[in-house]
Amino acid sequence: MRVESNAPQGDGHHEGHNGDREDGLHGAPNDRSASEHAVAPDGLTDARGTSVSRRVLLTGAAGVAAGALVSVLPGAAVGQGGTSAGASTPPPAPSRVPADPGSMLGAPTSAQGMRAAAVNPARVPVGAVSGSSRSPLGELTGTITPSDLHFERHHAGVPALDAATHRLVIHGLVDRPMEFSVDDIRRLPQVSRTYFIECSGNGRAPFKSPKPETTAQAAAGMTSNTEWTGVPLATLFREVGVKREASWFLAEGADACHMTRSVPVEKGWEDAMVVWAQNGEPLRPAQGYPLRLLLPGWEGNINLKWLRRLELGTQPWMTRWETSVYTDPLLGDTARQFSFVIDAKSVITSPSFPDVIGTRGWRPVTGLAWSGRGRIARVEVSTDGGASWHDAELSGTPQPKAHVRFQYMWNWRGEEALLLSRATDETGQVQPTRTALIDVRGPGTDYHFNAIVGWRVQPDGAVFYHGTT
């Protein structure tokens, strides 16, 4: 079986320390390949009527593994997953669909909705407390990531915070040092905006050593896109009276590492928010409950969760998360620091490994594109490995700093094909090849992997990751 090779990889912040050491729980792949046998006999097919046995095996098994892992993780009880068959509970066994479901009374209404029994998209948790879990991009459609499937990355576990007692303190170069309860913040004018968050380590392992058996989840699942609701940071800045000489602020979390990052004050006035809700409900614990700093378009780590303090000052603090990690080595024997903005990027999510395309004929080649600098202007798709490129359709109006879905209709006639996507944002930045990134930044480049990637389709319909562009 091929499924075991979808080894979970952390966002690998310490690969730079340890070469290609895997950053994860090594039991996970075995758990999943063991559990595939429990899922396989149901022989599920997907809505397209094509065989996706590899995907069904993988996702069903991943859910089981996730459930097994979660039981040993501190904070798992308050993690995401909640009511759905997501990462924190083992998925229910797929129930047999009766021959004529309409001939009997259906299930009653419920307090909290469940996914269909045969649908079990799941994150793959990696690492106990300094860990990550990725959105299952290959199983999601549209642009909104369900909250329980938004990727996670945290450095000291998910803290159990009480919104009733939680406070946000703002001090330093301000006229009025203030303390805000979550209720105070909810009483300020509310704004809702849809933004992606991408970890700048997204795709590190497949960038460094591309392997054919890589899912879209493993290749790019540390980006997610949701609607965030909160107060503009500018409103809080006005309430406390940020002094004109303030040029940087420090944001601090209430988690066990008390994470701190320095942010230019200008971003605070521009589009930063202090959010308390996601997709219409209060933030989930793994996403920062009760308060999160949202810096649209900027690398995931600086969208600081469990926000408890903002200090206004005149220079960056040089915290561990902006020196030891989240800095990008460059050729010339330097390292780029404060590399906040996410570059233009795209990934095809369908077809993708472990799909097997069972039927020839038309199908959409579809995926997601995003840029931290604004809107996506164009996505091109190639089915011949980049020899020719074709404009894809962008569904809806691309929003700034948000995922947009693209599609290109493709008539597969059973030939070997190499599917690639290439995004261009409104600044004119074009997604580069992996070779171009390595030429400019060096093979040891460690964050902001926005290279063109894709999928090789074999004549037998099997789809494999292609990262060596």
């Binding site: 730079g16 320390h17 070469g19 040029s247 230019p264 521009e270 030891s324 080595p329 040891g444």
Partner: protein, 223 residues
């Protein structure tokens, strides 16, 4: 017109001046930086008059309460690059070595060589990994000695985040001692050193000058 943030911030940093954040239009950096597409969200003018019914321009909602000195002091323990906030206390390399063995080695390995993922190595000045060649060779291992730009970061991080499961359990003198031990093991300071606020402020890390600001600006080309 809004300025392009990352390049504007870059220019301001390079000039060593402060950002006139509330009215960025007037900055001399504005002309040097590309314009942000007009449709980008900005809250700079989203003041107390922006939402109907609000108190009006120049006013506040006056929610929240004044933060007392003690409330601020409880969390305001950060130590920045200059080390001005460093607290009283002191600790020697020898004291730090003993503390490291009992509190840290279980995860970070004897002598700081690193443990099972995700426990990173802390110590290492292997000559093959000197010269900050990390972009050229992905196999090189980053350590405090061959990578970190500021010694004060070590104090700040140990104090706020370590030991992993019991953060905040160390006294300031213990943090000085552990900082001293890790700097000595990384051949940054002598084995006989005792660190206090002044001594730590004076430590200069070997590769401090290798960190450069972000020069990616969007637009065509790869940086």
């Amino acid at each position: 017109m809004r300025r392009h943030l990352s390049s504007a911030a870059l220019v301001l940093l390079a000039a060593g001046c402060n950002s006139p954040a509330a009215d960025g239009d007037q900055s001399p950096a504005a002309s040097a930086a590309p314009a942000v597409p007009a449709a980008l969200a900005t809250f700079e003018r989203y003041d107390a008059a922006a939402v109907p019914g609000g108190p009006g321009p120049g006013k506040r909602y006056a929610l929240g309460t004044a933060a007392s000195t003690s409330v601020i002091a409880r969390w305001n323990t950060d130590v920045g690059a200059q080390g001005t906030e460093l607290p009283p206390g002191k600790g020697s390399v020898g004291e730090g070595s003993a503390l490291y063995t009992s509190l840290c080695a279980s995860c970070h390995g004897v002598g700081g060589v690193g443990g099972i993922a995700p426990n990173p190595p802390l110590v290492g000045r292997d000559s093959s990994a000197e010269g900050f060649r990390f972009a050229r060779d992905p196999q090189l291992t980053k350590t405090i000695g061959n990578y970190w730009p500021y010694a004060t970061t070590l104090f700040d991080y140990i104090k706020r985040a370590m030991p992993l499961a019991t953060p905040g359990s160390l006294t300031d003198s213990q943090v000085y001692a552990l900082t001293a031990y890790l700097l000595a093991a990384n051949q940054v300071i002598a084995d006989t050193t005792t660190l206090d606020a002044d001594a730590l402020r004076a430590v200069r890390m070997p590769y401090r000058d290798r960190f450069v600001r972000d020069d990616r600006t969007g637009g065509p080309g790869v940086r």
